[in-house]
Amino acid sequence: MLCQSCGKRQATTHIKTILNGELKEYDLCPECAEKMGYGSFFGNMGFDLDKLFGSFMGGFSAKPAKRCQCCGSSFEDIAKSGKVGCANCYDTFYEELLPSIQRIHGRTSHTGKLAHSAGTQVKIKNELAKLKSELERAIKAQEFEKAAELRDQIKELERNE
């Protein structure tokens, strides 16, 4: 998709604003987004400080920026593009990403379907949560036989936990 402002460059930034109760959405290229005052949605966290120190030291940067060992992304790369480089980045930059994740989703831990590669502990926890919500439903619907069955399953799982 091309930038809606200049119509020339590829749009990479999606802007949503609510003006007088009307939702407006735009797709902008980084240049136009910058010009219109929309930075990356990661805000300016962390890396600016390093830059500032870097310029004080006259090019002798205090420490090289942390990079993902898998794909080579620095957090600055991610913050600038709004795109995470690879799965490993989520481990490498977990602390740095967390505030944005919290802001986007309002929550920071997953519930729902698990990949087969998920840890056993998580699988058990997930199964328990599912059974408990089923139990609640069964009790509400007065399906007591089903509820008893579910309760046994929950006990069994909790013993293995």
């Binding site: 998709m1 590829q10 749009a11 999606h14 609510i18 007088n20 109760g21 009307e22 939702l23 959405e25 735009y26 797709d27 898998c70 794909c71 080579g72 992304s73 593009s81 709004g82 795109k83 995470v84 480089g85 690879c86 799965a87 989520y90 481990d91 990403l97 944005s100 994740i101 986007i104 989703h105 309002g106 929550r107 920071t108 831990s109 997953h110 519930t111 729902g112 379907k113 698990l114 990949a115 087969h116 590669s117 998920a118 840890g119 502990q121 998580v122």
Partner: protein
């Protein structure tokens, strides 16, 4: 929440045009597409392709693989118009592949924003069955591919807005009465507080055409697939109720009646129709069908037309490139023929 609460609203096809479920998945061993070399793009495509095509499931044999770079521009745009791929997917087609089920209900995009995007689309309101199929295909792929998954953050995606379930559930809604009454602005701002978003017909960054909107969940982390779907369904049913109430009031208005019947007249007799006008007129007539002005007309005919009149799909079906004017002529012809079947205006309208 169970579906029976809404038995009174059971058939909501007047408002809900289609249901779509999309999963974003990535392979653990490759960088995400933004950092993927051309060679690795090819590898990802081939790994995903064989996981689908060489699978043991009965569904495997029904997929065809399309190398996106080999399509003509019209064929590619038509995929977007038919809601089979995202607009972003065809903006740069190099290294991208598509697995398409024979009835076009399932499309798997390879190397879009994520390595794998599984999408299932169905007519009308069918969140449960659409989710079940998407879930089944995802499980099938999960058995053969090592998906990037983190115990805390769930499925990992290139954009942090999709982590967690990686699921986007959307309903395509026709809301002409709410639009006409000027309520859409207020609705969309209150939806964002509920973790939902309402957008134009082709999703992110598109304007609503012909009062067709896409309602989808925004939050994907910390909310299970089932909760997100229930949430979406609840809100959709509220919108259906509101749309119907607003429609009832509007349908009595002589100016609106006039607009609908004029729209029908133009669609029946026009020789040239451009896309935008045609969308608007079809939307008006669809409103008329919903409000019971045209008892004989099937709403599915209009749903079908809303896609077939799109420029690239029009050219794809004709099989050649057309100038804008040729398109307008063929579009008018297409609509005229489709509406030709006897459409008797319902009697209560004639009494007035």
């Amino acid at each position: 929440m169970s579906e029976n609460k809404y038995t009174a609203l059971k058939d909501v096809s007047d408002v809900v045009i289609s249901t779509r479920i999309r999963f974003a998945r990535n392979l653990r061993d490759y960088p995400f597409p933004c950092r993927l070399s051309d060679e690795n793009k090819r590898k990802v495509a081939s790994v995903v392709k064989s996981a689908v095509l060489d699978g043991h499931s009965a569904i495997s044999g029904r997929f065809q693989y399309i190398q996106m770079s080999e399509l003509t521009q019209e064929e590619a745009v038509s995929l977007v118009e038919r809601h089979l791929v995202s607009p972003e997917f065809i903006s740069d087609r190099q290294g991208r592949g598509l697995l398409l089920l024979d009835d076009e209900s399932v499309s798997i995009m390879i190397n879009e924003e994520d390595h794998v995007r599984i999408q299932v689309i169905n007519k009308g309101m069918s969140l449960e069955s659409t989710y079940d199929l998407a879930d089944k295909i995802d499980t099938l792929l999960d058995e053969q591919l090592d998906f990037a998954f983190n115990d805390k953050l769930g499925y990992l995606t290139q954009c942090p807005t999709n982590i967690g379930t990686g699921m986007r559930a959307s309903l395509m809604l026709h809301l002409p009465s709410l639009k006409e009454s000027g309520a859409m602005g207020k609705i969309s701002s209150s939806l964002s507080k509920l973790g939902l978003v309402i957008r134009g017909m082709y999703g992110e960054g598109t304007e609503p055409k012909g009062a067709i909107y896409q309602l989808s969940n925004q939050v994907t982390l910390g909310i299970s697939e089932q909760e997100a779907i229930n949430n979406l369904r609840d809100i959709a049913y509220q919108l259906v109720t509101q749309e119907r109430a607003a429609r009832e009031a509007l349908a009595k208005n002589i100016n609106i009646q006039d607009k609908v019947y004029r729209s029908y007249g133009i669609l029946q007799y026009a020789k040239l129709l451009n896309n935008e006008e045609c969308m608007q007129l079809l939307s008006n007539v669809r409103f008329g069908v919903e409000a019971g002005f045209f008892s004989e007309m099937d709403i599915q005919t209009i749903n079908r037309l809303l896609i077939e009149i799109q420029p690239a799909t029009l050219m794809k079906n004709i099989g050649k490139k057309l100038t804008p004017q040729e398109r307008d002529r063929i579009r008018a012809e297409l609509v005229r023929t489709a509406l030709m079947q006897p459409q008797v205006p319902s009697s209560h309208r004639l009494e007035e």
